[in-house]
Symmetry: C2
Subunit: 339 residues, 2 copies
């Protein structure tokens, strides 16, 4: 599948879907669309992922060079930015499928629906959950697999990345491990899953439980992609639904080095790491004996490896548990305690 990824003005730092697909998905990325970085290459900005040219829009690509346009950014609220309309329109006129994780469903947009029909394209809104979800039975702990959930101090602290890195490296080490995707990026990478943030809150835990039951007896380890944070002013409901629905055995606490307030809600200070551990474990406890056993620190904001290593050591001390930056230093320290 030859893919163009739309990431206007947010690539790479605020384009986690785009980065996730570049890093983990089995697609041939032919271009990233970012009018702010037109003419550069992915490798100029991100060293350790699949390289691709960056162009200003779909019109810069030949119609027969690309099969799919993938929306690679997810703004707060999940709306559609009208400045992207020309790219989506051009993609559909080229005969490309369009894959989107926005809350705004492109298939419900009158112009896009018409263009897709005219050009025999598929619009896949991966954030549109299945219609037959229901409430949790509280039985996710009955699967054979060890269930490992990434939790965080905030959104965008590396939960999806940590999940993907751990699962890939666990498989490379000979373990039978699968990913349970709960968000648009994970679903785009894995090709299945349920966008829990888009599930009605009564069914959030039930939808996670269903994913766990689907794969839980076929693998030894399930790496569950977490969402949000237990103390996020807007998204904590998603987080707790995943925590209780997955009945996870072990938790990996993800954090951005140096961050001290909730992104976009700067008046909300992050509590201490020990408080996070206490909150996640104590709120899980009546439902499942979930334990924070390790930490994953995103040190992308720190230039030197030496400073990053110090930050990781400080983080491990604060948690009183093993920790690392899975991108910078690999997953060995974590897999040792997880598998």
């Amino acid at each position: 599948m030859r893919v163009a990824i739309l990431a206007h003005e947010k690539f790479p730092d605020r384009a986690k879907t785009a980065l996730g697909v570049l890093r983990y998905a089995d697609h041939d990325v032919v271009a990233v669309l970012d009018r702010a970085n037109d003419g550069r290459r992915v490798a100029d900005l991100v060293p350790d992922v699949q390289d691709a040219p960056i162009v200003s829009g779909m019109a810069d690509l030949e119609p027969d060079a690309v099969d799919t346009l993938l929306i690679g950014i997810a703004p707060i609220g999940g709306g559609f930015d009208e400045s992207w309309r020309e790219d989506v329109r051009t993609a559909l006129e080229y005969g490309c499928d369009v894959i989107s994780g926005l809350h705004y469903f492109l298939a419900d947009d009158e112009e896009f629906a018409r263009l897709a029909a005219d050009n025999d394209c598929e619009i896949r809104d991966v954030r549109n959950p299945p219609a037959d979800l229901t409430v949790a039975d509280g039985v996710a702990d009955q699967v054979d697999a060890e269930v490992i959930l990434t939790v965080g101090t905030d959104c965008s602290v590396g939960k999806m990345t940590t999940t993907m890195e751990l699962a890939r490296d666990a498989r490379a080490a000979g373990h039978d491990a699968a990913v349970i995707p709960t968000g648009q990026t994970g679903i785009m990478i894995e090709g299945w899953g349920t966008p829990i943030d888009r599930v009605v809150s009564d069914f959030a835990a039930g939808a996670v439980e269903e994913l766990i039951l689907e794969k839980g007896d076929d693998h030894d380890y399930l790496f569950v992609e977490g969402q949000g944070s237990i103390v996020h002013p807007a998204y904590s409901a998603v987080t707790l639904g995943i925590l209780h629905g997955s009945m996870a055995d072990t938790l990996v606490l993800c954090h951005n080095a140096g961050q001290d307030a909730v992104h976009g809600y700067e008046s909300v200070a992050l509590p201490s790491m020990q408080t996070y551990i206490d909150l996640y474990e104590s709120i899980a406890a009546p439902v499942a004996d979930s334990r924070v056993v390790a930490g994953a620190l995103n040190t992308a904001s720190l230039e030197s490896d030496e400073r990053a290593r110090e930050a990781v050591d400080e983080y491990a001390d604060a948690l009183d548990r093993p920790a690392t930056d899975v991108i910078r230093f690999g997953t060995d320290e974590l897999l040792e305690v997880l598998c």
Copy 2:
């Protein structure tokens, strides 16, 4: 409005919507439909609410004696019981409107939609939330009103009832108080509100915040109807969305006397009351300084007032806060600390 309330085989103990409407709504209830109690009266089973005859179905009522059929029971999962179809069909043939809080939307049922159109009736699925909801901004604490949220040890422990009793008695005492309805029963009683359990989990806190902002500068006290429990295996996402979205000043912890496990999830033991207080306050803390200041105990399962008084005293001791049964002993003890 002359209302018939459907509550087959669940009246009164497992028909909290029916009971809530009988007790608090400004409707003339002409009958309760319950084939298991045909021929009895509401007053035979529940002493302290509006009385009405109990009949076996809509066909027992004269077509011109009733304006509205209200679905007064909400089974786990919110599905439609096909044994109710004849009653809904008859109601629509009589020209009645139908109000339902089920997850299954009656307006989407082909037969009901056709009958409603043929007979010029309205089907109101109150659990169908508005389409324009969005994420929370974390600003509910900026309203003038004191925000008082009922929280619980489980579902069906009296949160809606406590909210309604407190608001009514606060108004009777001269306070300017309003109710913020977050579930189907509250919405049916108050005539507005948003069913948070049916809102996508990303927007759960935002939907509550919107309700608070709508009324928060017009009243001195907002009594927010809570949902579920912070440690419920299926519904905790709803609970936490309401807790963080409302940014409540004070919490009233509701509990059923003698209950020691989550209803329907008997393997999940309720933690201690002190644990509930710690969990609600500590998970709220990074977002809002919400404090459990009182308790409401449902002693309906205890026959004697003396035993009920003992249970309330034990509950107050366990909480180390004032407590009462708002139905049995009134709200004075609670209003003293709340208003």
